[in-house]
Amino acid sequence: MSILVNKETRLIVQGFTGSQGTLHSEQSIEYGTNIVGGVTPGKGGKEHLGKPVFNSVKEAVDKVEPNASIIFVPARFCKDSIMEAAEAGIKLIICITEGVPTIDMLDVKKYVDNVGVRLIGPNCPGVITPGEAKLGIMPGNIHLPGSIGIISRSGTLTYEAVKQTTDLGFGQSSCVGIGGDPIPGSSFIDMLKLFEEDTQTEAIVMVGEIGGTAEEAAAEYIKDNISKPVISYIAGQTAPAGKRMGHAGAIIAGGKGTAADKISKLKECGVHVADNLVEIGNKVAEVLKTN
């Protein structure tokens, strides 16, 4: 078991023939991901990386029956690409692209929720189920099939948590980067729900950062709904208030969403908090030993 993606996933790539789409599709195929085709308007009928190219998602759905899509198109086209995939009946859409306007995401989020489509991202590293399928830009080689479910708002920070759980031999059931934007397609809570139901997952690592109140909401949810141990780390403990730290999400406005607030809320709700980035793996080991 795992969440969201596995060997059965039939993936199409939107923005397949662009430089990012090409680079990451190559690596995903190498990892063993079943890419069944790609979409680039105007290039339909051609072949790319040994896979068929289609003009539209609809055409791809008719011909190769994909059940997931990954999006690498430029930010200004993401709204249309996500809507197109959702309209064509794709139920899992992963948008890697960074820099999608927030106003676009308000419409997108409302739409995908209404039609029951699971959107991950934008501005995220994607989803991986180690040993089965890699739908994203994460380095495959640091992962190991195993028992830890990882959820994170950040890319390279996720890789740290992955590397540490791999080095200690736990491995991961699945890893999901939900992205750092103000309006993400999926929240920590959406993913916590899936990991709670997944039999392979024994513990969950949730990597958060300053800004917003997603971690606080997740903490409340964990208290009432999650039976598995949750280990968390919050980045940005030393970030000064009011300064924007790269991610659109990582800004502390009006004193809300500070690391201290988040950490105390998480602890209050029974989450095990690693004090330091380098201690995530050790914290997992400590918690699993006592459980």
């Binding site: 680079l23 990451h24 690596q27 930010a75 200004r76 820099g99 999608v100 306007p101 927030t102 106003i103 676009d104 308000l106 989020k109 409302k110 830009i137 994460m138 380095p139 080689n141 640091i142 994170s152 708002r153 950040s154 890319g155 390279t156 920070l157 996720t158 890789y159 740290e160 590397k163 750092g180 103000p182 309006i183 990597v207 950062e209 300053i210 917003g212 109140t213 997603a214 909401a217 780390y233 980045a235 940005g236 403990q237 030393t238 970030a239 000064p240 300064k243 924007r244 730290m245 790269g246 991610h247 659109a248 990582a250 009006g254 004193g255 004090d275 330091n276 980035l277 380098v278």
Partner: protein, 386 residues
Amino acid sequence: MNLHEYQGKLLFAEYNLPVSKGKVIFDAKNAVDACNEIGGTKWVVKAQVHAGGRGKAGGVELIDSPEEAEAFAKRWLGKKLVTYQTDKEGQLVNSILIEECTNISKELYLSAVIDRDSQKIVFIGSSEGGVNIEEVATNSPEKIIYQAVEFKDKSLPDHAKNIANVLKLNDEQTNQFIPMIDNLLRLFVEKDLSLLEINPLVINSSGDLHCLDAKVNIDSNALFRQPELLEMHDETQEDPREAEAAKNDLSYVSLDGNIGCMVNGAGLAMGTMDTIKFFGGNPANFLDVGGTATQERVAKAFKIILKDPNVKVVLVNIFGGIVRCDVIAKGIIAAIKEVDIKVPVVVRLEGNNADVGAKILSKANIKIESINSLSDAAKKAVELAK
């Protein structure tokens, strides 16, 4: 991206929102003409900077002769205004807004933001305007309304009425307020705003609603489709190093410590700063070098970090994902040679081909401390910074 008050008010006027008659000047010699053109016998002169708290800092004055406007402009243009919202250097004043004087009978508060929790645009209104709204929120939360709204939603007039009730508007003012909310929401969506604040929104002596201030922030991700707003960008209001980094597509924020940081990914960059602090050091900056840490980008990042004279050591922390660590290592060495760095550099490479990368770094004929563990690398940087 922030706008100046006068730019925000141009947008307000475009959307039929009630703003004062005014003129912006960039040169003191135009002050008298501007006052005469506006007319009347009393004016307000306002120094334009990207920060609040201008009134208390002397950046806003009520005057009753055009000569005073000229004197005010001479006093402030080219100078820096320090308010409680700026750093201790202050913000450069390069324009002055002169407006006709408004007689105020009541000050209210109105703003709109994108709310992450409800995933909607939310209007925030209060009957207590012109003051620090955070204080009102803490001390008398019942005086504040948070109203989620949706563009082109039929219930928008009802939502506007909910806000009007909390603002204690009379029937006539409520009739003005309903289209005002509609216009503000259109402005917010069509111009890709991330924040809009009118503090204060006032009721003037004739009993009409009037926007006395305008704070507007635009979603930087949407500037590609807002070319006329992009032209309003005032680089002088930003930290020069941050502005230069932005030009190079690097994300940089200057801080007050002495350990320069170069990291790939915003989350890991914050995590690295935290780790430095954890071991007793102080980061000099936040810098996200991005997903592709090429020699060119690394060199630019080094240059920006080293413009800060406080930097005693640079800690490079790269998690090589798609780009292999051996490629990154070569890029770092070339960049260090290119920039001719005098301070010690501690490099931690992890991920794809990390061992090969470390070997390349240790064999390079330059002063680099290559350390594989992040805690050890951070400790080393803290020690070298002492």
